[in-house]
Amino acid sequence: MSNVLIRLENVSKSYGAGSEPAVRNLTLEVMRGEVLVLVGPSGCGKSTTLRLINRLIEPTSGRMFIDGEDVTEANPSELRRKIGYVIQQVGLFPHRTIAENIATVPQLLGWSKEKISARVDELLELVSMDPETYRDRYPKELSGGQAQRIGVARALAADPDVLLMDEPFGAIDPITRDRLQNEFLRLQQEVKKTIVFVTHDIDEAIKMGNRIAILREGSEIAQLDTPEAILAHPADEFVESFLGSGAILKGLTLKKVSDIDLHQVPTLTSPVLREEALKALQESPDQVALLLDGVGRPLRWIDERALNRTSQPIEKSGRPVTVDLQPEDTLQDALTVMLQSSVGMACVTDRKGKYLGCTTIESLAKLIMSDG
């Protein structure tokens, strides 16, 4: 079994004589199980390239191979049933329920009813949507983020090896997009698909890709490498200008909170006596302690001033912990939370919300330095 799953060989696409070709003599290999991101300015031909792979656009010349098999002349509809396809506008069928939408390809492939309905529930679970609640709803009842979750579930329905994603999170608000990206990365760890992902957003490319192909006009590859390598050694001025300034900051999206050594601050578990709190604070090098609730979830930052200023119970002094991080969040998320936090630190919790430790600006700086 070769490691190359998709191979485009000298593929060109032009729309009539006289006009510049949208894709010029492109040779590209996608490895089994990787996320290859095609990124470039608008009009560079990245979407066209993606649509060449499932032959929604027929190439003018060149050949295409999937798993070693020449699919340039294969029946396009049959080929597409083996390739998941997710687009920015989602394109759910508005007259079909969520379950029916997800069942589209399995139905085309003639699966049995029982198998389809089991698969639908499995996929809804996979994209974190309750099957009981959502199975029989219609697309118009979904938010943008939910609709795209269904879009992804629908693409995965028949368990294709390959997934093509055309700016899947491009039309979603930044907060939801971030969450979907993280979920998607977690999902990919489970399903290990071969994914070609198109975006115009270099930050998204760095976050999502195992490898990134930076494309310029005519879908010409300016640089194809891992995000780390591209950030460290941009091939030319075009790549450099496309990366924009702040390559170090962009690199933060590549690392996870779990890469950092967590800092421990003194913790107090509610309910707590004022004297105990004061003692803990005096021993703390950070002059701050963290109040946890009965099951270990962070509640408030407590410092001496807050304690002395008021006779309020400890549970009401200090500042509340509003956001906490989880180990799989990126260091960019961590930086944002720290900068917003009153104490310059961010709490890290496990999935159940239990306190694990803190990230500090110093620990972040140390990690960046050690890389440089």
Binding site: L56, P76, I87, G91, L92, P94, T104, L108
Partner: protein, 253 residues
Amino acid sequence: MTTAISPGKTRSPLSERLDLIISPIFAAGLAILGFAVWTYSDLDKITIAILSPDKIQRQIGETLILGLTSSILVVLIAVPVGILVTRKGYPRLKSALVNTLGLGQALPAYGLIVIFFSFMGSGIVTVILALATFSLLPVLRNTIVGLEQVDKSVIDAARGMGLTARQILLKIELPLSVEVILGGIRTAVVINIGFSALAFLVGGGGLGETINSGLKLDRGPAILIGAVMVAIMALLFDFLSALAQKYLKPKGL
């Protein structure tokens, strides 16, 4: 992302409810009017002869045959043609067709019937063909509009998942445009029932005969009752089409 839902006319529930009750209200009003005229006017023997149940029954039957046959004919022609010209590769045919049919509609129905008569002679077939020609455009136009307003990203997704062109048409495009297409058919049926009152001109029968006799013999109540019955039939079919639109529209839209 929610904009991915097809951008068809979104109706408020109020106007949708009005849609279903306006025709019956008018029909009921007209029925009361007709009944009042029948009961309270001084009807002479001639009027009663014009309005004899046998004749009226036959004429209603003829009106139904004329209106429905021409409508079915229109659907059988206009919907497939509308589908054909919205497929890839026929944009010129489409604009040529829509323009020509627009001209056809500028002709009065009366003129159209006479033109068909001069080629085909008298009879029911002449009327049916004339009516069908006249009401072709609304169905054709709505079929084209209905198919073209289907969200392109929905079709892109369908193609990308491996639906064939035929499957996309039958499972996606037609269900998503059925309401608009039925709207065109509804207009056509009402036109056809209404204009079937002119069928008597070329020996096609229908309730126009009653109106005509009333005019010729100067019997006001007969004219009115004939006209009221044509109008009620048109309104009845408008109502039935509205029902069809409401219940054939797929859920989820």
